[in-house]
Assembly symmetry: C2
Homo-oligomer: 396 residues x 2
């Protein structure tokens, strides 16, 4: 059996660039940008008034003038005007283009305006209240680099350079597959020995947070049904996420079926708890990946975040790094395995602490709702001390 | 002019319960649950095998027997079977119902099976490898409380109790409105004095993260057009988010129009930077709220997260609390105003630190992409020290 570190390393070897696609601007939100975005003009594109007031030629003030006749008014959205008489001023609104021959703006609060004459109430500074053309970025400058995650801030930038459509990293096509004769659909009333499908519904919801819309297939515990459906799924998808069917039972056909269908096992079973029977493989010809998670709710859930999410992030090109949090009690792990413990997080003095949740084992679905994520504790001869930093994976 | 704290307090006075609505299970992801979810049966609903192996009657082992003839095999999904002869065993798969008369499961790894006879290789513990009926939750127990945010973990629980449709908090109907003659649409090529609309597109993207699909209306700087469109928008929505049109310029009609249309000003202008000209009001009869943000990109963005988001969270019933982070350099604010500084966050020894971003002022759209959020610095006579805790608002 391999260690968690080794299993993780092997999964990450199969990260894959699924290419790019073009989507409408608002649909690109939370996707990964696949092109560099350049400024199509200076930012701002002109000398822009940042206050409402008057625009003057500063030299006139320096020469002793502090009252200015208002020659005209310019609003945002008007083409550039010209201050014709340097002894006069132009009334100007925020967002408007600074008129030719003007170089300084005095805001209303520092003015007294009467009968079309503006009188300065304080001493202006040359060039004040103007957002200079190109001050933020010059035309051609890179505004957004390839590989950034698009969020509302980036949407604003994309809009401002006219990207009605955006090139983003294509998402892998994922299907979630439940197996097990004990499972009935959410809308059915289970008989005493049955339960409703929930693991893969949870996975569908988790995938939707990555903007992946995954189909759900349920297959009963028959080798024939599994073979037929998995064969089809391998052709139609980039990734299969399965829940159940990988432990040692007589009816756990997955490893066998995968072998028959040409899916090469990368590993089966990992020195970890929960989720030991995790099976991972690849169809060499189709390049379809198979993450086959143990059927317990906690096992499926934790394996998804421990393996699939880092693999996915690496594949779309955003990268993945460990987050460390502080333990709020000492804890031991001398099991020879990596333990994944569900935890609740809380902030204290700017640090993120975790409390370990006691749960009833890998079947305890309800404990997942109480947790904010889990910590990874490798085997260690000495205790993990209170306050020690451990790796945390968030699931909320 | 009122302080930021006072402005915040006043906005929060207008939080409002918009009622509830029923949505399909997967659509409830990231919404707020509006009903208490009870266990419709015990969790788990039966004594469930957690390992593959054999089920025995422990008393037989205690009486000295360690070889058991296999009487039958039970798989997950089969109705409960019975161990007819207590000297025998039943082969059992994970997820199956524990047979009557059996009380202990021994996994394959601890067995030697030959010719239909299983021999124990180690000493079992009574009741082992069984997830006892009701061990997680008893029938009728509350699994999820009203007011929790639904995430993939909760989706799993909702699925398991058969919630094909879920009662969630209804979202306010929001419209984003841009004003300003200088603005052209994203698909247009702006003239030298024009810029493309970006603030409200950014707001649309931010609202979609809250599952709110907001329409966008652009209104030109004419009092008549603003009056006509705002009047209609007030009737059709719960919240109007405006960008631009609230500073002191001659063409900033919003406050005047709002007054004409019966929208009562709660406040106009806040001792904060950026975003000083923020205008907030309510139409008493329609109960429509108006958040009218200054038109600069950074002002609109920060005001949205500083006021709208806490208001929204409080309205849907999830509550809102401040998050504190550590400053990585000392900083002063003796401006008499609250400063909102864009920051980049990073983890160090389990603590979240922020670096203050230098930007070119409230017009610098590109700085928003570099930031992970902003910190709120109230006026303070002494410096904020390196390492001091300050309030942080995340925007990524």
């Amino acid at each position: 059996m391999i260690t968690y570190e080794e299993a993780f390393r092997r999964v990450m070897l199969y990260d894959k660039d699924y290419g790019t696609e073009t989507v409408p601007l608002l649909k690109s939100n939370f996707r990964i940008l696949a092109e560099t975005i350049h400024a199509d003009r200076d930012f701002p594109p002109f000398n822009r008034a940042t206050k409402d007031g008057i625009a003057i030629n500063f030299a006139t003030f320096e020469n002793g003038t502090s009252t200015f006749k208002i020659e005209a008014t310019v609003n945002a959205g008007m083409p550039q005007q010209e201050l014709k008489d340097a002894n006069c001023c132009i009334e100007i609104m925020t967002g408007a283009v600074l008129p030719k021959n003007a170089d300084t703006i005095i805001m209303y609060e520092d003015l007294d305006i009467k009968d079309g004459i503006a009188t300065l109430l304080s001493t202006p500074k040359e060039g004040q209240n103007i957002h200079q053309q190109g001050a933020d970025k010059l035309k051609g400058a890179a505004l957004l680099e390839k590989g950034v995650k698009i969020t509302p801030a980036e949407i604003g930038i994309l809009a401002s350079v006219g990207k009605k459509k955006v090139l983003v990293a294509k998402l892998p096509k994922v299907v979630v597959i439940s197996t097990g004769n004990e499972l009935v659909s959410v809308s059915e009333t289970p008989k005493p020995h049955q339960i409703r499908t929930s693991n893969v519904i949870s996975l569908q919801a988790a995938l939707s947070a990555e903007q992946i819309i995954a189909k759900h297939i349920h297959i009963s515990d028959s080798k024939r049904a599994i073979t037929k459906n998995v064969k089809k799924a391998l052709k139609q998808n980039d990734v299969l996420l399965l829940s159940g069917g990988v432990s040692k039972g007589k009816f756990d056909f997955i490893p066998e079926v995968m072998d028959d269908l040409g899916v090469e096992k990368v590993f089966h079973k990992v020195l970890q708890r929960p989720g030991k029977p995790f099976w991972f493989g690849i169809h060499d010809k189709l390049q379809t990946l198979v993450f086959s998670f143990p059927g317990n709710p906690v096992s499926t859930f934790i394996n998804y975040y421990a393996y699939f999410i880092p693999w996915f992030k690496s594949s779309v090109g955003v990268g993945y790094s460990d987050q460390f949090v502080k333990l709020d009690e000492s804890v031991a792990n001398t099991t020879g395995m990596t333990l994944f413990n569900l935890v609740k997080t809380y902030w204290k003095n700017g640090s993120l602490f975790v409390s370990i949740l006691k749960n009833n084992g890998s079947g305890d679905l309800t404990s997942l709702s109480e947790a904010d994520g889990f910590i990874c504790l490798p085997h260690k001869e000495t205790d993990y001390e209170k306050g020690e930093l451990v790796v945390f994976v968030g699931t909320k």
